[in-house]
Symmetry: C2
Subunit: 263 residues, 2 copies
């Protein structure tokens, strides 16, 4: 993995495109902003964009393609959203029917691609302040959980939030809040600290997406809104077709993480 | 006017609804957030919402109605966007064809209403710090100007930004920037300070919307992105129908201005 930390975003996307890289992207092309992907046909695009506008913590919009275009003009004008992610989830009528490494055959001129902010963006800022990020230490995907936190509905889009969890040493919790608050467009401050039960999470060892991580003695589980929320919504509202990244297998943009820090 | 400062937002909307109030709303129901209105048929709604997402300084989205609904559920669940503003502009094929006090006859089940943040929101914060707001002092509408600053296009929506101008004593300019920066969802920090020519404004005495105000010796003209921008865009792209508030004649929400201050 270490060798992949310092590659350029274009190189990272090339590795994904050629299927040389089909693993989670955390820590890849470090310092460059990673994003969640949601692809929908045009007749659902307005409701989804409105859903994002109403739920900016789980769904902070970073870029949206023009109708039919697979190019995220602002995030990475040379990229191709159909092939540049390591892995995609295809949901048909709310069921995950395929996990694939490209979606070129599914993309037509009615498609709109949405890139949403990802909490990986603030992980470097945490690490720089000496706050551990457990799933990076353990070399696995971040654990993600369905919650009982309601999103604000928009058209047919409604359902509950998905969160990511990082165990934070108690003495660092305040700093973790302070630091991540400065990144409002990549999920920002935590949505919950310390009592997973209160948000409907009953077993930290059984994440709904990603992999479990060790919570050490003296650490508090801290939860951030997660860009996998739309996948949970898709399972709920069962749109005919919705394509997303595979959790943890993100799109790597040309933007650097500093862009999203509010000073 | 003074008597109208301390009324409730519901009372302010009632006065507009009954046409007892058909003037600009600056200073009315003070402390409650005012908003720009844009109403579009559904087939333009996605492109416009995307335009707002790409241009958050002139077009910060505060609330969007469900398709066909005239109720801004989040901003004021008791309100009716068809009648609760003092004055509306109706643009047909890019031409301002009517200035009316209600739009009930034009609203059908295909309509979507957008409320955008308004710089009136940060004016109280300026006043509280002893920074003068000239158009309030002079009891007139804020001066607004078309500029040469390009917005990022989205679908058919493209064109230049409109700005509002407030003359600020030179010694207060830094504070005015600092204070308004804390209100990112109601236009935030200025887009230009001091040289109107550089953004395509050649005569401050001739605003494109609103009324001119006195710029005193020792003051600097400071320009903020303005929610009248969509009206300029409408004139440019000529959609079949687009309804907006009349500049300065805003929608008064149930939210208080503090909600939009980032601490």
């Amino acid at each position: 993995m270490r060798g992949y930390r310092n590659i350029s975003p274009a190189e990272a996307r090339r590795l994904c495109r050629s299927n040389e890289w089909i693993k989670p992207t955390s820590g890849m092309a470090q310092g460059y902003t990673q994003a969640n992907l949601v692809v929908l046909p045009r007749d659902l695009a307005f409701d989804f964009l409105l859903f994002c506008q109403r739920n900016p913590k789980p769904c902070p919009v970073l870029d949206v393609t023009d109708l039919g275009s697979h190019v995220p003009k602002m995030a990475a004008p040379d990229a191709d959203l159909r092939v540049d992610l390591p892995k995609y989830n295809v949901y048909e009528n709310g069921v995950l029917t395929q996990e694939v490494t490209d979606i070129a055959s599914l993309w037509d001129e009615e498609m709109v691609g949405f890139l949403l902010g990802c909490s990986f963006t603030f992980e470097n800022a945490l690490l720089e302040k000496g706050i551990p990020v457990r799933h990076i230490e353990e070399g696995c995907n971040v654990p993600m959980y369905k919650t009982n936190l309601n999103c604000v509905g928009a058209g047919s889009f409604k359902g509950n939030m998905v969160v990511s969890m990082r165990p934070i040493p108690a003495r660092h919790v305040a700093d973790a809040v302070r630091i991540t608050s400065r990144f409002p467009s990549v999920h920002g401050a935590p949505v919950h600290i310390g009592h997973p039960d209160q948000i409907g999470i009953h077993d930290l060892a059984q994440p709904d997406f990603g992999e479990p991580v060790t919570v050490q003695k003296g650490e508090i589980p801290v939860f951030w809104a997660c860009g996998v929320t739309p996948q949970n919504i898709a399972m709920n509202i069962k749109p005919e077709l919705m394509i997303t990244h595979s959790p943890g297998h993100m799109f790597i943009t040309d933007w650097t993480d500093e862009k999203f820090e509010v000073l």
